[in-house]
């Protein structure tokens, strides 16, 4: 056989092997996430996890023989872009539902467009308490700050016994909601909130605001921030020699990146988590191993929640088919979906209540908190 003949045979074989799912018309779902810009790394985590989930689902036969295809759009973390993407996705007849976006602000800007067009908007991470209730087509699976805020307040006031608490929050929809729920709950528990300061999304310099907060002598500092800023705040706090304060932050801090950037400065930091890479549950281990094999990196909470969003969507498509309305009805019925971040059961407002765990960083590792 000539080389060319061999190539033809090989090509034919490859085509054949792809047939079981490749032959049918794919089902398109959309992903709106920040692939560039300030939040690019979170968007890329979304993309990776969703690619992985879809790859596995397609290898297992797709949706009744039809493969799933993901149409990704870059929202740049900008609410305007997210709204433009929503226009694009909803007017594309092939797309049956959407996953995204990352920030609550972007989700809420796109929300009316999905609602008007009648397409499911399933956000892995929007935790603003007004997001999911805002439209019958919007779903959030990370839990809201209405749940996590009081949880962290209890941690600070009851478990750690702190009475003078300062708050340094990121000035966006999520940060404001996170701060508000925490402050309200902490005051309700009898603690005094002695200072509240904010910072902007791209800020890297916290020395000024930390110096100011230090001046009011709080015994605890609560930092609603992403892990990048959280690590920088901790680094700069250490550099300023401010050690007589206990620092806490919501589960957004829970990432290997926090340990990597924060180094020794994050030891003693308290946070919460819904996802542990070391969780022995088989589905968690399958995800962690698969993710590590494919991307040479340990998945963080954002990757895990996006993976759950993708699998929840795939399971819903299996049950509901490709009608946009049927998908919404089926998704809203979700009561016992178990993902790597725990059980997903939608409330009547299409958000979920998560089980959080108290974590503290000891010797550069996240560990369960024991008093």
């Amino acid at each position: 056989m000539t080389m060319n003949g061999l190539r033809v045979v090989l090509a034919a074989l490859m085509l054949l092997s792809a047939l079981p799912v490749g032959a049918a018309e794919p089902i398109h779902i959309a992903l709106s996430a920040p692939m560039t810009g300030n939040y690019a790394e979170y968007g890329q985590q979304f993309q990776r996890s969703i690619d992985l989930a879809v790859e596995w689902a397609n290898a297992a036969g797709g949706i009744h023989g039809r493969p799933i295809a993901v149409v990704s759009g870059d929202s740049k973390g900008d609410p305007k872009e997210a709204a433009a993407l929503a226009q694009k996705f909803t007017s594309d007849k092939r797309i049956v539902a959407e996953i995204g976006d990352f920030t609550s602000s972007a989700c809420m800007a796109a929300q009316p467009i999905y609602e008007r067009a009648g397409m499911v908007q399933l956000s892995p991470t929007a935790s603003h308490p007004e997001f999911a209730p805002g439209s019958p087509w919007s779903f959030g699976i990370i839990g809201t700050q209405a749940g996590e805020g009081p949880f962290m307040a209890k941690y600070a006031v009851e478990k750690l016994g702190k009475k003078r608490i300062a708050v340094l929050y990121i000035n966006n929809d999520w940060g404001i909601a996170t701060k508000d729920y925490f402050v309200k709950a902490a005051q309700g528990l009898g603690a005094q909130v002695v200072a509240v300061e904010s910072f902007f999304e791209a800020d890297k310099d916290f020395t000024g605001v930390l110096t100011k907060l230090r001046g009011v002598k709080p015994d605890a500092l609560y930092i609603p921030a992403m892990y990048n800023e959280g690590a920088l705040i901790e680094k700069q706090r250490e550099k300023l020699g401010w050690s007589d304060v206990v620092v806490l932050g919501p589960g957004s801090l829970y990432s290997p990146k926090l340990l990597e950037i924060g180094g020794g400065a994050v030891n003693g930091l308290h946070t919460s988590a819904v996802f542990f890479p070391n969780d022995p549950r088989p589905d968690v281990q399958k995800f962690v191993k698969g993710f590590e094999a494919k991307y040479k990196a340990t998945p963080n909470m954002f990757a895990a929640i996006a993976y759950d969003a993708a699998n929840l969507m795939i399971e819903t498509l299996r049950k509901a088919g490709t009608d946009r309305q049927a998908i919404r009805e089926e998704l809203a019925k979700t009561k016992d979906f178990v993902g790597v971040t725990g059980r997903i059961a939608f409330t009547s407002q299409r958000d979920v209540v998560k089980d959080y765990r108290y974590l503290v960083i000891r010797d550069g590792q996240f560990t369960l908190y024991t008093p």
Binding site: T36, E197, G208, A231, G241, G263
Partner: protein, 288 residues
């Protein structure tokens, strides 16, 4: 809390100043603005990161590596964007540097990824002076910034090349007529400016323990603002401009709120420019 805030502000301001001085050197000699300066700073910061975190070199070597990388990239910018466009007026080179800045930034995102990279810490300790906590690293950065500016001053005022640069800054044609190799002067101006920008990039990486692909944009903007604020062609002006911006920002954080830092900093700049359109130490005669 006033003294620590002043030190915070001076440290931050000295880093702005290093970037601003780069703009002054380039504008002073070529009478042109480069928008790729922030990205030169970013690339140098990454070089510093690799030297420190991957090759575990001591920080002075990392600083040097970043400065050399900055200088090389700066000279390349000059060759690519300015030299072929010498007679084309102001707009084409400006556009090329904008393009270059976008290309460098996006390439950095593609090659190095969008995430923050952790730069190892140095000089973690604080010392207590008269009851005030002072970070040793802040003092080191302040000292280094002063040293770099001192060396620059020596280069400009004590060497033949420095004299050639100052002559070119005053009058391109006259300097050329007197036998100054203008191309070399421009190349050296870019190298010096970019080495300083590179030093700022590496130091910022060390100071905040992080480098990332999009870090050049804000730095470029703040540096350029400090340069105009200081008088566009005055090195002492740019330094003063950078320091004032840094201090005003931190005092705003202390006495108002963190969110107002840029608002107040730019309001102060606008207010000064209304009274003194030529900037803090600007002159009508061009020089550096």
């Amino acid at each position: 809390m006033l003294v620590p805030q002043l030190i915070n502000g001076l440290t931050q301001g000295s880093l702005y100043a290093l970037v601003a001085v780069g703009f002054v050197i380039i504008f002073g000699t070529l009478n042109l603005v480069t928008f790729a300066h922030g990205e030169v700073y970013m690339v140098a910061a990454f070089v510093g990161y690799f030297a420190l975190a991957v090759y575990h070199l001591p920080w002075p070597l990392a600083l040097l590596a970043g400065m050399v990388a900055g200088a090389v990239l700066g000279m390349a910018t000059e060759k690519l964007a300015f030299r072929p466009m010498r007679s084309a007026g102001h707009m084409p080179p400006l556009l090329i540097t904008i393009g270059l800045s976008v290309i460098l930034k996006d390439l950095a995102v593609i090659v190095w990824g969008a995430e923050n990279r952790a730069v190892p810490s140095i000089y973690q300790q604080t010392i207590q002076v008269a009851g005030v906590h002072v970070s040793v690293l802040q003092l080191v950065i302040l000292a280094l910034a002063c040293a770099l500016v001192g060396v620059l001053r020596l280069l400009l005022h004590r060497t033949r090349m420095g004299r050639a640069m100052r002559a070119t800054a005053q009058d391109h044609e006259a300097a050329y007529a007197m036998g100054v190799n203008i191309n070399r002067v421009f190349s050296v101006a870019f190298a010096l400016a970019s080495a300083l920008g590179g030093a700022a990039g590496v130091l910022v990486g060390i100071y905040y323990n992080t480098v990332y692909a999009t870090m050049g944009s804000t730095a470029g903007l703040k540096g350029f603002a400090a340069c105009i604020f200081g008088g566009l062609t005055s090195i002492p002006g740019a330094i003063l401009g950078g320091l004032i911006i840094g201090v005003v920002e931190n005092l705003t954080v202390q006495f108002m709120a963190s969110g107002y830092r840029d608002v107040v900093a730019f309001l102060v700049m606008v207010a000064v420019l209304i009274v003194r359109p030529q900037g803090l130490l600007g002159k009508t005669l061009r020089s550096i």
